[in-house]
């Protein structure tokens, strides 16, 4: 048994270690050390909690068993999960944080004595407010993440689900959450607590269904942020510094990522959250005329010829590369190019893929050195000097329409200047429009060669022909 003051100091230390864990991520060299700081912080927090309770009776064994079960499942998932499934995994993990927050809030509500919060039916007002906020945000995180997970897994359609009166309904539910919290605090009724939880689960579900698949980077970041705020809410209830610090860190981290993702699409946060983007309304009449425009298509042989005669190649990967699992084949192709003294670099758009940094992880998995991979601002001027751009699985992020046509829904979105390359190789299965539902002008450019095939197969074929 250690004193509350001593344990508070240890919680502070673990909070500081968590800050260092995030700080380490400023460069890949320091990141691994940062992760160790995070692990150390967690070990300190858990150990101190056991010591401060000092109850090593029968309950202790049960706690250890549940800890072990969770730990084994977690470790198993961490080793088995393919890197392409990372967005789903993160969404799944968010849902667990949310649910854990809900469960802790329930436990605290049912047995406030254990947390020094008063007695059932007579919980301290401040604690009750904090608890309700933690529980409500946790519940929203849980059900929202479940929907995001199902959409990313493809179990649920990635297209937005909209219905009439959706926004008024959501607004109504959000207001009712505030009213319920107020009533709960004034009456301490446990029925109201359960209703509050149920309504919060419902709104999490309703908030995410209208948001389409390619907007998932924003959704995942947003849910990341929510999971932080939920943890912070519980941290206030438990008067625990480590939890408050962590909640604030995670909350602001997720908010910043959402902001970066929205900026990458030139859309406001509310525009994304209100959803419905890329639904049928975009495909106006103008598009039908455009369908007939001629495109040049080629095969692996043509592509290999173009690349062999190039001195520099820029690769533009997108979500399609992840779907086709083409990153290893791509890396082999690049190795062959490099043997021929061709300079190769990779250009990553901020919203390429289904979560922030998705493409970078896949390329890292395929052993691509991270100093060959560049962000949009770093590399965009190089397209004009490059001989070949190889677009694999990306679409909307290369569309020049975003710079030229003010009528376009993606006008103003920062795009990669792929069309400035001497020639463009565009690997795609068909001419179908991308997520934004608009035609890509790049397909019809003089210097574009379309390679209609599965990304992985095409890349392998090109390598053979090099």
């Amino acid at each position: 048994m250690i004193s509350p003051n001593l344990s508070a100091i240890f919680y502070l230390i673990s909070g500081v270690l968590f800050i260092l864990a995030l700080r380490g991520l400023s460069s890949p060299e320091t990141s691994r050390q940062g992760n160790l700081f995070g692990i150390l912080g967690m070990i300190i927090a858990v150990t101190v909690t056991f010591l401060s309770i000092g109850n090593f009776s029968a309950g202790f064994i049960v706690v250890l068993i549940f800890l072990l079960i969770g730990g084994l499942i977690g470790a198993f998932i961490a080793y088995k999960i393919p890197m392409t499934a990372m967005p789903e995994l993160v969404a799944g993990f968010h849902s667990l944080v949310g649910l854990a927050a809900v469960f802790v809030a329930i436990a605290a509500f049912l047995n406030p004595e254990a947390f020094n919060l008063g007695s059932p039916g007579n919980i301290k007002l401040g604690s009750l407010i904090e608890m309700s906020i933690g529980a409500a945000v946790g519940a929203i995180t849980f059900s929202g993440s479940i929907i995001a997970f199902l959409k990313l897994q493809g179990i649920m359609s990635g297209s937005p689900i909209t219905f009439k009166g959706q926004h008024p309904l959501n607004a109504l539910i959000l207001i009712s959450i505030i009213i319920l919290t107020y009533l709960l605090c004034s009456t301490q009724s446990s029925n109201l607590f359960w209703i509050l939880l149920a309504v919060s689960f419902l709104i999490g579900f309703l908030l995410i269904i209208p948001i389409g698949g390619a907007d998932m980077p924003v959704v995942i970041s947003m849910l990341n942020s929510y999971s932080g705020w939920a943890a912070a809410g519980i941290g206030f209830t438990l008067e625990n510094t480590a939890l408050i610090i962590t909640g604030a860190l995670v909350g602001s981290s997720g908010a910043i990522l959402s902001y970066i993702m929205c900026k990458g699409m030139n859309r406001s946060f509310f525009n994304v959250i209100l959803g419905g983007f890329g639904a049928t309304e975009q495909s106006g009449s103008s598009q039908n005329n455009k369908e007939q425009r001629p495109v040049k298509s080629g095969n692996a042989d043509d592509a290999a010829f173009l690349m062999k005669n190039a001195s520099s190649v820029i690769i533009v990967p997108g979500y399609g590369m992840a779907v086709a699992q083409a990153q290893h084949a791509l890396r082999e192709m690049v190795d062959t190019l490099k043997k021929n003294d061709i300079k190769v670099s990779y250009a990553i758009h901020p919203v390429a893929g289904r979560m922030p940094g998705h493409m970078n992880v896949l390329l890292a998995e395929a052993n691509v050195p991270y100093d060959e991979v560049f962000e949009l601002e770093e590399i965009n001027n190089d397209f004009a000097n490059a001989d070949v751009a190889f677009v694999i699985g990306a679409n909307d992020v290369t569309n020049p329409v975003a710079k030229t046509d003010p009528q376009s829904p993606i006008f103003g979105m920062p795009v990669l200047d792929v069309e400035k390359c001497k020639s463009v190789l565009f690997v795609k299965r068909s001419l179908s429009p991308g997520y934004a539902g608009i035609d890509n002008d790049l397909f019809y450019k003089e210097n574009t060669l379309m390679l209609f095939a599965d990304a992985k197969k095409m890349t392998e074929d090109i390598t053979k022909n090099l």
Binding site: P28, N35, Y79, L99, A107, L110, N240, S252, G254
Partner: protein, 102 residues
């Protein structure tokens, strides 16, 4: 009059938001996926509350409704802690620099 301890916690919270703001802006975009998985892992420090709830039962009846929710929360948070840190470790191990001698 004494200052309510809540104010101190609020101060910690607000200052931590600012720390988070500056620290996260300095994270390199190529590590945004590991950032998400590691924030996932650390926010599972909520396990602290779950352990308190789980150990709150009396010795004659360790399973009451409250502690059962505590036990379940322990497992959920543990999945995240182990899963989150290990998968981050696995990802970070893949980020390599170009070999100079090549």
């Amino acid at each position: 009059m004494e200052i309510d301890p809540f104010i101190f916690r609020l101060s910690i919270f607000i200052l931590s938001i600012f720390i988070g703001y500056y620290v996260v802006w300095s994270v390199t975009p190529s590590l945004h996926t590991p950032l998400m998985s590691v924030t996932n892992a650390i926010s599972s420090v909520i396990i602290v509350g779950a352990i308190i709830a789980g150990l709150a039962g009396k010795s004659d009846s360790i399973f009451n409704t409250s502690s059962i929710f505590g036990f379940l929360a322990i497992s959920l948070a543990a999945i995240n802690i182990f899963g989150g840190f290990l998968v981050t470790q696995r990802m970070l191990a893949m980020y390599k620099k170009k070999k100079k001698d090549k």
